[in-house]
């Protein structure tokens, strides 16, 4: 459910930048979404179709670039992808990893006319 306020945020950011660039229409939005960000792109698309209506972003396509989670072991510095069963380092069994990617959730760019 939380995707509604999130989608409103996306629209607001996009409209601000489009206005600054004197754009007539927003055709595409490029969103980066990390595996650990707890966002559901289907719901964003659903709300988008409703709230973008009657704005210059109506009908724009949302593109989601998904970023997989990557952890780095702070013991042996091995980089690995965690699973829903195992989080410890597969190489040395170490705990205390740093999250390198997977938490991002940002609007990267928009395409305008």
């Amino acid at each position: 459910m939380h995707e509604l306020p999130v989608t409103q945020s996306i629209l607001k950011i996009a409209l601000q930048h489009a206005e600054k660039g004197n754009a007539k229409r927003i055709t595409d939005l490029n969103i980066v979404m990390g595996e650990l960000s707890s966002m559901v792109d289907d719901s964003i698309q659903f709300y988008w179709d409703i709230i973008a209506k009657d704005t210059i972003a109506e009908g724009a396509t949302l593109h989601f670039r998904r970023v997989p989670a990557e952890l780095q072991c702070m013991t042996c510095f091995h980089k690995y992808h965690p699973t829903d069963k195992e989080l410890v380092c597969p190489q040395c069994g170490g705990v205390g990893a740093k999250i390198i990617t997977g938490e991002e959730f940002a609007l990267e760019s928009i395409d305008v006319e």
Binding site: M1, H2, P5, V6, S9, I10, K12, I13, A14, H17, A18, G21, A23, T27, I31, L36, S37, S38, M39, A69, L71, P82, T83, D84, K85, E86, L87, V88, V95, G96, A97, I99, E103, F105, A106, L107, E108, S109, I110, D111, V112, E113
Partner: protein, 219 residues
Amino acid sequence: MTQNIPIVENIMNANDRLAEENRARINAAGVFAINIMASPGAGKTSLIEQTLPRLKGKLRVATIDGDIATSIDSDRAAAAGAQAAVQINTGGDCHLDAVMLRGALEQLDLTQFDLLIVENVGNLVCPAGFKLGTHKSVLIASVPEGDDKPYKYPGMYRGVDALVINKVDLLPYINFRMDYFKQGVEVLNPGVTTFETSCRTGDGLDAWVDWLIQNAKRK
């Protein structure tokens, strides 16, 4: 002519900014505020109920309860001795956000309190992304939920400042591998302050209450 405008703006910024305003308001009143998150039934309200009598005469406490529709939880908090209990009905939203917290803060004279306890909506996915402006996020994990929760909900375990493992009275009856659970936690959130509690027997509650008092004294 199509043109690409680079932006790279964190989509959560609007909420984060409001959370900062909430934080400033809470700080100005000298209050220590926590945000309690957990799945439904983990024991959020029970922990609040057990905490309040133990703080009697030590800290003045206000609670804010987020619930999809009812006011049962804030009634329980008031009955347990909260000096003020505000209910936020989220109207279907699965988490609190900074706007909702701001609305609740406006109903309180914060200068009358030392500790503010926010009970978030029961949910292990969404609340993590929505900062409220509280000082510490607390996650309650209860033993019957299973030992694999850190692995399934890394985002939640990652962002919290304290972890309460509740319902430890049930450990003899449930196959809960504490080592496996803690190993997952340690990867995501090394060294996080952890309490093992039972709201049924009272085990571990003193350490939890001390932690609240120590933090509130610093404000």
